[in-house]
Subunit: 204 residues, 2 copies
DNA sequence: GCGTTAGTGGACTATTTAGTCAACAATAAA
DNA sequence: TTTATTGTTGACTAAATAGTCCACTAACGC
C-alpha cells in the first residue's frame, strides 16, 4: 500500500551528522534536506519540526549504537576488562571521527543535551532518557565488580553516575580541545573512582 | 575625547546571559541588542560579528569571575579545604542560577565550547585558553596537597586535567538534567581521584 | 486498469536575520 | 565657540529560513 521511501531514514542520518559535526542551532532544515537529498515538502510530511526530527534521530542512532556497547560490556568479560575495553573503544572511536571529519566530536548526546537543555524540553528529556540507559552498562559492570570483590561499591548506581559524568567530561574536553589524547586518562581516572588498583599495580 | 558609552559592556553582559541561559547558535544579534538596550548600528560600531562579541564577552566574564575563585582557592587554606569550598561554591552557584533563571545552567565555558568548537576557531581557542587558566587553581591545590603529603600526586598537572574534566562533566550533567543535586557527588569523586581519604574517614 | 494510500517536488509566502549607511548627538580639547 | 572625535539612531537592503500548498507520482490490492 502506497509509495515506499527511505527519506525518513535519510533525514535522520543527515541531522545526526550535522548536529554532531556542528551544532543543533546552526543546522537549518534546508541544510538537512540538502544533505539527505530530500525536498522540504517531504521533510514536513514526516516531521513537524527540527526538534521532532532530532528526537527520533537520536533515538534511532542510539538503537544503532547499542549493539556496540553490548559487545564492549559483555557480561562474559571480567568487569575491569569491560572498563578497559570501554575506554579503548571511546578513544578509538574519537580517533576515527577525527580522521573522517577532521575533528574530535565527543559524545553527541552531551553536545546536543548541553545545547538544548534550557530550550527544547522534549529533546532534553530524550537525551536524559538515553543517558540513563547507557549509564546502565556502567552500573551493571560496577555491581559485578563489587560482587566479585574486585572493588568496594555498595551503591553501584551512584558510582555509575559519577563515572558516567567523568567519562562524558573527558569526551567534552576532547571535543573542545580537538584532541583525542585527552581520553587516555579515562581508564586511570575510572579506576581511581572505583578505588581499584591500577593495571600496573596489579601486575607488579 | 568624544562621546562616552557603556554600550560595549551592556552588549557583553547581554550575550553572556543569552548564551548561558540558552545557546550561542540560538541567540541572534537582534536579541542581544534588544536585551542590551542598544541599537544594531552601535553593535556593529563595536564588534564585527557575534563571534567577536562572544570572544570579548567571555574574556570579560572570566575577569569578573576570577576573584571569586581566588577566594575559594586561597593558598592560606589547607588544600583539601580549598577543594571542599570549591565543591560547595559550585553547588551553591548552580542553586542560585536555578532560582534566578529557573534552570541549572552549568558552566558557560563548557556550554559554549562544546557548541562552537567545530565551527568557530577563534572562540574555541579562547575557551580553551580560559579553561587552561582556571585549571591552574586545581593544579596549585594538588601540588600543595602533594607537598604536604596529604595525597600522592607527582604529576599535579595531569591530576588537575582529570579532576577538571570530572567537575565539568558533573556540571554538564547538572545542566542537562536540570538538577543541582548531581553536584553533591563532586567532592567525593574528586577525593577518590586524588586518592585522598574521605572527610568522614578522616574524622573516624 | 482502477482506486486508494503513501510519498514527492517545487514553487510560493511570510518572517527573521545579518549587515549597511548617513545624518545626528555628545564630549572634550583648542 | 569651533572643531575633531566618538558614539547613536533608525531606516534600509539583501539574504536566509521556516513553513505551506497542491498537483503529481509510485506502489499495491482489487
Amino acid at each position: 500500500m502506497g509509495r515506499v521511501s527511505d527519506a525518513k531514514e535519510k533525514l535522520m542520518k543527515a541531522v545526526t551528522e550535522l548536529i554532531w559535526t556542528g551544532s543543533y542551532g546552526s543546522t537549518t532544515i534546508d541544510q538537512i534536506c540538502e544533505r539527505a537529498g530530500v525536498k522540504k515538502g517531504s521533510f514536513y510530511y514526516f516531521f513537524d519540526s527540527k526538534a521532532a526530527l532530532a528526537e527520533e534521530a537520536i533515538e534511532s542512532a542510539w538503537e544503532e549504537f547499542r549493539p556496540k556497547l553490548d559487545r564492549v560490556f559483555s557480561p562474559s568479560l571480567p568487569p575491569l576488562e569491560r572498563i578497559h575495553r570501554f575506554c579503548e573503544f571511546e578513544y578509538e572511536e574519537q580517533l576515527g571521527l577525527q580522521r573522517e571529519f577532521g575533528h574530535v566530536l565527543g559524545c553527541p548526546l552531551c553536545t546536543l543535551g548541553t545545547e538544548v537543555s534550557t530550550q527544547e524540553a522534549g529533546l532534553r528529556q530524550k537525551v536524559e532518557d538515553i543517558m540513563d540507559q547507557s549509564r546502565k552498562y556502567l552500573e551493571t559492570t560496577i555491581r559485578d565488580a563489587h560482587a566479585e570483590g574486585v572493588i568496594r561499591a555498595p551503591d553501584a548506581a551512584a558510582k555509575a553516575r559519577t563515572i558516567y559524568a567523568f567519562s562524558e567530561g573527558l569526551m567534552t574536553q576532547a571535543r573542545i580541545r580537538n584532541d583525542a589524547e585527552v581520553l587516555r586518562e579515562m581508564e586511570r581516572g575510572i579506576l581511581d573512582l572505583l578505588g581499584a588498583k591500577s593495571v600496573e599495580a596489579v601486575a607488579a
